[in-house]
Amino acid sequence: MDENEQKLPKKNEVPDSWWYRVYFGVIVSTILVIFALWAFSQYFK
């Protein structure tokens, strides 16, 4: 990288390990939401 392409300072950043837990939470909550929607449609079927 040349001078214009220098990395920006990593301000306000949290470690990747924390993010992996967040991503796991997002995937789990998505599965729960899809399950809840499926249950909703079964209940009113």
């Binding site: 990288m1 920006l8 995937i27």
Partner: protein, 557 residues
């Protein structure tokens, strides 16, 4: 519309223009005008991401889809949270730390200027036409439903958005998006409560949902593996995943949103905000359509929701006879719907299902009659605006029309801003004048916004045959999206990929989608998978066969 509704719509428009223009003070310099000096908080960026994706035609079309087809469309969004997680791991840190203004600028750093120019060019063409449709679609609908002049609606919507986007830059886009999202949410909540309040006495929301569920309107998961079926859990989780990866990770109108965030963490949080809220929001929009369906079990809906078409055939004897059959079918369905919602018995349910089928058959005869003169006729987008104007109280009509305007303007502004950014930085600065001052680049950015705004309005005015235009734009977009994603996969994940591989892989990908669209029956969403996979495979092989000296920056960022 009463003067109160006009005042609400007028007040909304005036405030948005004022609010956008007052952002001028933050637009000194290229960084300020195009990236807000990377200073925006995650929640504002997150709302802007959602607002950009939610166009008026999504709002109006999805409620219509909820009415006609039920909740099945929600499956399209099941892949979105997964796409957001993948982008948080890859695109956000790669783009942000490469300190780029456009997604395509990154491709020059990774490959060469050819790849940057080609991808940026495809973006300009597809998005330039797309923004015209984003303006045209709600304008045509509002003109017919409200009796407004079509040209006036197009130019009021298009030029007012162009004005504040041109002057206020990305700051104006983001902060007006935030307010527009609040207008949309508020309008939708009010609409939902008013519809439920209009159910007949003794019919609760639960009763209504049982009615909708009995005729399959609440199906949210379809496990079918049939590739020719449009909405299944697999097309949502796999095929739409590719579309979302491409749209949020490679389309400048979305990439520019998270590049304005304060940091990588804030950029990631903004995308995850969308991951959390998109499915519930879409559920609410579709639910409104389903509740409109329930409302029309007890109040007769028009046989044809497009008032112009209805008026055209009003004096035809055949149409009148179809209308009479339709009214009879409605009365019968109303009777059994009332019985089922009060008794909840199995026999009443069966009668209701049969009566609904008769009613749908009667409507289909009316639609087929109109289709004799107009083969592409489809009134799905007219259901919600027609319902609002005919059944909502004074004040709420104005609020919902303002929400439709907000949905349109939030998408238009972000897209114009992205078009201007790509034009100024990928073409003017890179190929024409690399030594201009910041002031000159901002000036060119403003002129580019104005030109793209006028171009979009002109495209919108030409959209007389809207159905086919949307098809052309979608087809062109699908040719481009999957293949573009393939180029970014080569850039991020394939170390051996070089500029020849990326450039010709992209062309191979586009050609493969053309073949798939013309010689197979697979649904549109799967084109993105085909384009991406062929681009990656062809790009990889070409890179091996024709090696070039290519800069691999992926592991340095």
């Amino acid at each position: 519309m009463s003067w109160i509704d006009w005042a609400i719509v007028g007040g909304y428009l005036a405030f948005m223009i004022f609010d956008g223009i007052r952002m001028t003070k933050h637009t000194s310099g290229v960084d300020g005008y195009f990236l807000a000096n990377r200073s925006l908080p995650w929640w504002a960026v997150g709302l802007s991401v959602m607002a950009t994706q939610l166009s008026a035609i999504t709002l109006v079309g999805a409620t219509g889809q909820g009415y006609m087809d039920g909740m099945r469309f929600i499956q399209f969004y099941y892949g979105l949270p997964i796409a957001m997680v993948i982008l948080c791991v890859t695109a956000v840190p790669f783009f942000y730390r490469a300190n780029v203004f456009t997604a395509y600028e990154y491709l020059e750093k990774r490959f060469d200027v050819r790849v940057r120019t080609l991808t940026s060019f495809f973006f300009l063409i597809s998005r330039g036409l797309g923004v015209g449709v984003v303006i045209a679609a709600p304008s045509v609908i509002l003109s017919i439903v409200l009796g407004w002049n079509e040209l006036t609606t197009i130019f009021v919507m298009g030029l007012s958005t162009t004005l504040y986007t041109m002057i206020g830059g990305v700051q104006a886009v983001t902060w007006t998006d935030v307010k527009q999202m609040f207008v949309i949410f508020f309008g939708l909540f009010v609409c939902l409560f008013v519809i439920v309040g209009k159910f007949p006495e003794g019919v609760s929301m639960g009763d209504g949902l049982h009615l909708a569920g009995a005729v399959g309107k609440l199906e949210t998961v379809n496990w079918s593996f049939d590739l020719t079926e449009k909405y299944t859990i697999w097309s949502g989780v796999i095929a739409a995943l590719f579309l979302f990866l491409s749209y949020f990770g490679c389309d400048q109108s979305q990439v520019q949103r998270f590049l304005t965030a304060k940091s990588v963490s804030e950029g990631r949080t903004s995308l995850l905000m969308s991951a959390f809220f998109k499915i519930p929001m879409q559920f609410m929009i579709l639910l409104i359509g389903v509740l409109v369906f329930v409302f029309y079990q007890f109040q007769q809906p028009p046989m044809i929701f497009n008032a112009n078409e209805n008026a055209k055939y009003a004096n035809s004897a055949e149409y009148k006879s179809l209308q009479a059959d339709y009214e009879k079918a409605f009365e019968k369905r109303k009777l059994v719907a009332t019985e089922y919602s009060t008794t909840n018995s199995d026999s009443a349910k069966q009668s209701y299902i049969e009566a609904n089928q008769e009613f749908l058959a009667a409507r289909k005869k009316g639609v087929d009659f109109v289709k004799k003169d107009n083969a592409s006729f489809n009134d799905i987008n007219y259901v919600f605006p027609n319902f609002v104007v005919q059944n909502m109280p004074i004040g709420v009509i104005g609020l919902i029309i303002a929400a439709i305007f907000a949905a349109a303007m939030s998408s238009i502004s972000a897209e114009l801003n992205a078009l201007a950014t790509a034009t100024t930085l990928d073409f003017y600065r890179r190929l024409v004048n690399a030594d201009a001052t910041d002031k000159q680049y901002v000036f060119v950015g403003r002129i580019a916004t104005l030109i793209w705004g006028i171009f979009a309005c002109l495209v919108a005015t030409q959209a007389t045959n809207l159905g086919s235009l949307i098809e052309v734009v979608n087809k062109f977009g699908s040719f481009f999206y999957g293949s573009l994603l393939g180029v970014f996969v080569l850039a991020f994940a394939v170390k051996k990929a070089n500029s020849n591989g990326a450039f010709f892989g992209l062309l191979f990908g586009i050609a493969s989608v053309w073949v798939a669209s013309n010689y197979t029956k697979i649904e549109f969403l799967w084109f993105n998978v085909v384009g991406c996979l062929v681009t990656v495979l062809a790009g990889y092989l070409i890179s091996l066969i024709f090696p070039t000296k290519s800069i691999d920056i992926s592991n340095k960022i």
